[in-house]
């Protein structure tokens, strides 16, 4: 079974989620838990660092879609950074770059929130 890891850390007022491994229908609930925790703590500014993510399925994409609206309604957002090319291609195919902000480096995304 492909494994998946998720880690949450704070960089100033921004929450950074590190995702690692394979994000699919089986592992998506783990990521959902993290987002629920953020909502409970009223943390709406989120950067997802994809540096170590190897694969994402449509169910994995669904997680971001489920939460982005709430974040945006509360003056926050979900921004993506450090994405590998193969993962970016999947986002790109679906037209995500029109809906989400993608950054090469995590600090750029964090910077964007702080401005």
């Amino acid at each position: 079974m492909a494994d998946f890891n998720v880690n949450l850390r704070g960089v100033g007022s921004v929450s950074v989620i590190d995702v690692k491994g394979y994000l699919d229908a089986h592992t998506a609930p783990e990521l959902e838990n993290v987002f629920n925790k953020l909502l409970d703590g009223r943390q709406y500014k989120v950067v997802v660092n994809f540096n170590e993510l190897k694969y994402i399925s449509s169910a994995g994409l669904g997680v971001f879609m489920a939460y982005v609206e709430t974040m945006r309604e509360n003056m926050g957002d979900i921004k993506f950074s450090n994405m590998k090319e193969n993962v970016y291609n999947i986002f790109d195919l679906l037209g995500f770059p029109i809906l989400y902000e993608f950054y090469n480096e995590e600090h750029e995304a964090v910077q964007k929130f702080n401005n």
Binding site: A25, S57, A59, G62, L93
Partner: protein, 681 residues
């Protein structure tokens, strides 16, 4: 040989008995007086055969009554009373034996009939003793009984020897005494008494003493010098001996029964409760395999616990995590049971790992009003695999504590409840699993019905479509629409997610495309409209990727728009291109941004151009190194096989794909739609 005789005697029991009886009857009509030795011997043998065959028949017939020994005793007793009655009446009416010397025809018939009554009664009584003898015997006591039978026979025939030599009577007496000793020994086999319920034991005590006396009286009267003795004795001395012996047997046997029953009385109650416990446990075992409703079983368990463990109330609780639920109560209210349970269990977890007896009245010093307080309560855990799933309570008002045996049986019932609870859980799970599998079947069915049965085809435009469902139903969909004006519309779509929900979304998407394709003839506008229509009907997490295109079959112009779907591959000559006009997946964005980002593409097809539409089930198929099949492999396959017909191209692609992912299960639907343009423009 021996068995053959046995079988013959048994299978024809009734016929044999009747036959010999008739013979005996006729013989005695013809020769009312047995004045010669030969006649006497023949008569003795005939009587013996009658007795023997009748006994054989009756003993077969009695086999069915073995379950109620008391009935056997009573039946024998009634016949004994009949004999007593006949002897007494004959004594009163006929007077002293010396008066009656007539051997008239009617006298003969009368005495023969009387003899038959005696033979029947004695046979029946003896049979009942035989059945009782074999009842509840652990070892096979046949030997003892058969020895006794042999001595009965010897005693019978010893009378014949007397006819030759009257000094021979010591032999008769010897046989007689030995028979009585054997009777006494055999009478000691009365194990069946122990298994009678208490009530029946009391009953047996009374009838056994009465019957013992009755048999004794019969023996005395028949042995005495009266008219009945004379009739029997003149008819057959052997029979007289036999009747005497059976009466002695009855007297001894019932006497022994009386004393045995008397000694069994003190333990009768304990024996009753033990046997009830055993039979309750057996009933429960049966119930567990038959009843799937745990509540129903819990009812039975609490009521049996109350009865068998001599408690005044019982109740059963089940535990799920920290939630405690009263499953059933017996002879106690829900409120009381709940209150006592809370008192006993408190907040502590796993308090009672093994059965414990609580002195409840000591715990609870201040009863409200005149409420009756339980003196002791037994708590037994419902334990399976070391995990406690609940408790069984048995409570008692009385002073005396639960003894060791009662504790054991409360725990036994708790164990049964634990197993039943586990069973119920497993059954629930398997029903749930079955339900899910059915759901999957429904989803597959929907998917099958949604896809087109026939693929449109013409000389200019050849089409091949292939669909391979994954085990978990996905949401791939393709369709073709004849639009008139030589235009063919087509859609290839993929609903995110799996299972029945995506199958339903797919059905909805099909409906939307089918109706909108008739109204809107521009692919981009159509996809925008589809996106609007889907608003509100999809979950936030779900989306649909799609390509909608229109091919003009006259001009070979392809117009299409792409909403997040995998790019179209266009193979033209030795060149292959990914056509990926911008476009966001359907249901991802309902803002005007969707429309403004969606681009349309127009292509003029050339002769032998191949167009490939497919789902990500192909490009994202994995091998055991978790690598994607990817676009390059797909593209080079198309290039390599471009001159073959369309079905061969799909076959080659599928072959390569299954080789690539042979150690990996297919986790997404695969759709492959290929067009080929065959016309020089």
């Amino acid at each position: 040989m021996n068995n053959q005789i046995k079988n013959f005697a048994r299978s024809r029991g009734l016929e044999n008995a009747i036959l010999v009886s008739i013979l005996l009857f006729l013989f005695n009509l013809i020769f009312p007086l047995h004045d010669s030795t030969l006649l006497a011997i023949i008569n003795e043998i005939l009587v013996f055969l009658t007795v023997f065959f009748l006994f054989n028949y009756i003993h077969q017939f009695l086999k069915s009554k073995v379950d109620s020994p008391l009935t056997l005793v009573l039946n024998g007793g009634i016949l004994a009373a009949l004999i007593f009655f006949i002897v007494s009446i004959s004594k009163a009416i006929l007077g002293s034996p010396d008066n009656n010397k007539g051997v008239g025809f009617f006298n003969s018939i009368f005495s023969i009939l009387l003899i038959f009554v005696f033979i029947g009664s004695v046979d029946y009584i003896f049979s009942t003793f035989r059945e009782l003898f074999f009842l509840r015997q652990k070892k096979d006591p046949k030997m003892f009984f058969n020895t006794m039978l042999v001595f009965f026979t010897l005693s019978y025939f010893s009378n014949i020897f007397l006819l030759f030599d009257s000094t021979f009577d010591y032999a008769r007496d010897a046989f007689y005494v030995v028979t009585i000793v054997l009777i006494f020994l055999n009478s000691l086999r009365v194990a069946w008494i122990a298994f009678l319920p208490k009530k029946q034991k009391y009953y047996l005590l009374i009838i056994s003493v009465v019957l013992s006396i009755l048999y004794g009286l019969n023996f005395a009267m028949i042995g005495d010098n009266n008219v009945m003795r004379k009739i029997i004795f003149t008819f057959s001395p052997g029979l007289h001996t036999l009747i005497n012996l059976v009466m002695i047997y009855g007297s001894i046997y019932l006497g022994i029964i009386f004393f045995t029953t008397l000694f069994h009385l003190p333990t009768a109650e304990a024996f009753d409760s033990k046997s009830e416990e055993v039979s309750s446990l057996m009933d429960l075992t049966k119930l567990i395999t038959q009843v799937f409703d745990f509540k129903e079983l819990a009812q039975t368990i609490t009521s049996i616990t109350t009865r068998v463990c001599n408690s005044d109330s019982a109740w059963l609780i089940t535990k799920r995590g920290k939630n405690i639920e009263l499953s059933s109560v017996h002879k106690i209210g829900f409120v009381d049971a709940d209150r006592i349970t809370n008192n006993l269990l408190g907040t502590g977890e796993n308090d009672y790992d093994t059965i414990e007896i609580i002195q409840y009245d000591l715990m609870n010093q201040n009863p409200k009003g005149n409420e009756q307080i339980y003196k002791s309560i037994a708590i037994a855990p419902l334990k399976v695999h070391g995990k406690i799933n609940g408790y069984l309570f048995a409570a008692r008002y009385r002073e005396n504590d639960f003894d060791q045996d009662e504790k054991k049986s409360v725990q036994a019932f708790a164990d049964y409840a634990a197993v039943a609870l586990e069973n119920a859980k497993l059954i629930e799970e398997s029903i749930e699993k079955e339900r899910l599998e059915k759901e999957l079947d429904v989803a597959r069915d929907i998917q099958k019905k949604i896809l087109p049965n026939t693929i449109p085809c013409s000389d200019e435009l050849k089409i091949s479509a292939l669909f391979v469902p994954a085990f978990e139903v996905g949401g791939d969909y393709y369709d073709f629409f004849e639009l008139g004006n030589d235009c063919l519309g087509f859609v290839v779509a993929d609903v995110s997610g799996k299972g029945i929900s995506s199958a339903f979304i797919m059905a909805e998407v099909k409906g939307v495309f089918e109706s909108l394709s008739k109204i809107i003839s521009n692919p981009r506008e159509l996809l925008i409209k589809v996106n609007d229509t889907l608003k509100g009907s999809l979950d936030k997490k779900n989306f649909v990727t799609a390509i909608y295109g229109i091919i003009n079959k006259k001009s070979g112009i392809l117009n299409f728009a792409r909403a997040g779907h995998t790019p179209i591959l266009l193979c033209s000559g030795e060149k292959i291109d990914r056509l990926q006009p911008a476009g966001v997946g359907l249901a991802l964005d309902y803002s005007p941004g969707f429309a403004s980002s969606l681009k349309e593409m127009e292509i003029q097809l050339k002769n032998n151009d191949i167009i490939l539409c497919y789902s990500d089930g192909i490009t994202e198929a994995k091998n055991n190194k978790e690598e994607d099949f990817g676009y390059e492999r797909l593209e080079s396959l198309v290039l390599k096989n471009r001159d073959k017909n369309l079905d061969s191209i799909s076959n080659e692609i599928m072959k390569e794909l299954s080789l690539f992912s042979r150690n990996h299960s297919q986790h997404d639907d695969i759709t492959l739609v290929i067009f080929k343009w065959n016309k020089n423009n």
